[in-house]
């Protein structure tokens, strides 16, 4: 652990989808350089929390602070400019663009444009297959390759905090292993990673700490080791299948 300084601090947020309250008084802290997981079943509010950090949704109450700045009222594009980029659930690569053009979109923000070249090298170094397929149309890639592209596109934005939503959904275990290896390398470069998973066992092997969300509330948080013990005892309580 490099330091215990909070990079992102979420304090008592309430978030609504229309009239439906999706998050209830949620607080969470991410420390610089760590790998933190959000675990929870479908509809537990994980993606809502990610979207709130990204600025696609805004909390009705509470604040989201990134490196000391309140970002809870900012729009998504400004938040990307500050250094938070999300790899969305379902990868959502631009289907009819080439791999290369997808990556170039990642460096759209002016602050990332000047670093386009070194970042592109970095992404191709991390995922050599993307370099091989750089002229290929994104929709023709396999699921694993699309996920690599989504992560690579996110890195092109030069983030200091990466949010990754359901990275391993629908992918083969061997591909998931590769992706986690890549995440470790990304983390070594100093990028903080927050990721959302349904795969509890696997997630607790890979992360430092985790928060458990249930129906829009944080019910547990702690180090991965603590939560592993907890999980064994209270499997039913989590309401999550270990799907590996």
């Amino acid at each position: 652990m490099t330091s215990s300084e909070a990079q992102l601090e979420i304090k008592n947020i309430d978030v609504f989808h229309g009239t439906f309250q999706a998050l209830w008084n949620v607080s969470l802290e991410i420390r610089r350089g760590e790998m933190l997981a959000l675990i929870g079943a479908n509809t537990s509010g994980k993606s809502t929390l990610m979207d709130t950090i990204s600025g696609l949704l805004h909390p009705v109450n509470g604040t989201v602070e990134f490196e000391g700045t309140d970002i809870s009222r900012l729009d998504c594009h400004d938040i990307v400019g500050l250094g938070i980029t999300q790899v969305p659930e379902g990868r959502r690569v631009f289907p009819d663009m080439t791999v290369h053009d997808n990556l170039m979109i990642g460096s759209y923000r002016p602050c990332a444009r000047s670093k386009t070249k070194p970042n592109l090298e970095k992404v191709y170094g991390l995922f050599p297959i993307l370099k091989e397929r750089r002229r290929q149309i994104a929709r023709t890639l396999s699921g694993g390759e699309q996920q690599m592209l989504a992560i690579g596109r996110c890195l092109m934005a030069d983030p200091r905090l990466m949010l990754i939503d359901e990275m391993s959904l629908g992918l083969a275990p061997i591909v998931i292993d590769d992706l986690f290896k890549a995440l470790k390398k990304i983390r070594e470069t100093g990028v903080t990673i927050l990721f959302v998973e349904q795969n509890v066992k696997r997630t607790l092997q890979e992360t430092d700490r985790a928060y458990i969300l249930e129906t829009g509330r944080v019910t547990l948080n702690g180090t991965a080791a603590e939560l592993r013990e907890e999980a064994k005892i209270k499997k039913a309580y989590f309401g999550i299948e270990e799907c590996d």
Partner: protein, 288 residues
Amino acid sequence: MNSDIITPVLMGVMLGGLYALIANGLSLVFGVMRLINLAHGDLVILGSYLAYAILTLFGLDPVIGLVISVPVMFCLGFLIQKYLMSRAFAISTETPLIIAFGISLIIQNANQIAWTPLSRAVNTTYAQESFFIGGLQLPLIYLFDFIAGIVVMVLLHTFLKGTYLGRAITAASQDKRAAQLMGINTNRVYGYAFAIAMISAAIAGVFLGMTFPFTPTSGTSFLTIAFGTVIIGGLGSTLGTFIGGIILGVFQTLGGYFFGSAAQMLVVYLIVLIILAVRPQGLLGSRG
């Protein structure tokens, strides 16, 4: 093969360049915002009236006059998107359609007040001249329409593929949410997309005005032609729009040649119908 038939085929191909020119803006706005811009035809005609005004008031060649009308239409497009459409989109998906219809009516009536319902034409010296190819005599303006169609297609394609803003427009059209997450201000990008569609409408208006006489209500029939062009060519492809325009143009002139001018548009819309049934995404369109 009867040499008579070559004339309508050539005319149709060149006319297709004009149709592609008219359809570009409709295709861009639909592709990016999923908005069927019912005012597009009237905005093109507004471009024709601008060219007419520039010619009659200043005596300026309408093609050179584009240095005035292009910025005007660009700003108009940006403002329509920013102050009307983006707010309408926040209400529901149908609201922008109604707004577009409203803009269409306003432009038609404003043009009636300003220019009377009489038919006008952008008369330049070269608009009435002919050129000869292989012993055939063809109107020179049709050749200019075709060249303008190619030039605008190439420019638009280069812009969309080669610039950051162009790529952002393409990205926002393929996945708005993912584009936002990559730091693209989609509202601003929509504004630029609408403004660029208006530039192409301004250019289309000039060439349309030199090719055909127009009245304040001509926009409706050219909107229909633009629809046909986009349906044939497929959305989201500048080359597709161009080819769509040519197919539409050729079937129109051939329909006129074989069945008389009363039936020419019937032939065109039969072709549109067949393509919709056989290949709904259009010839070069990507699968939705």
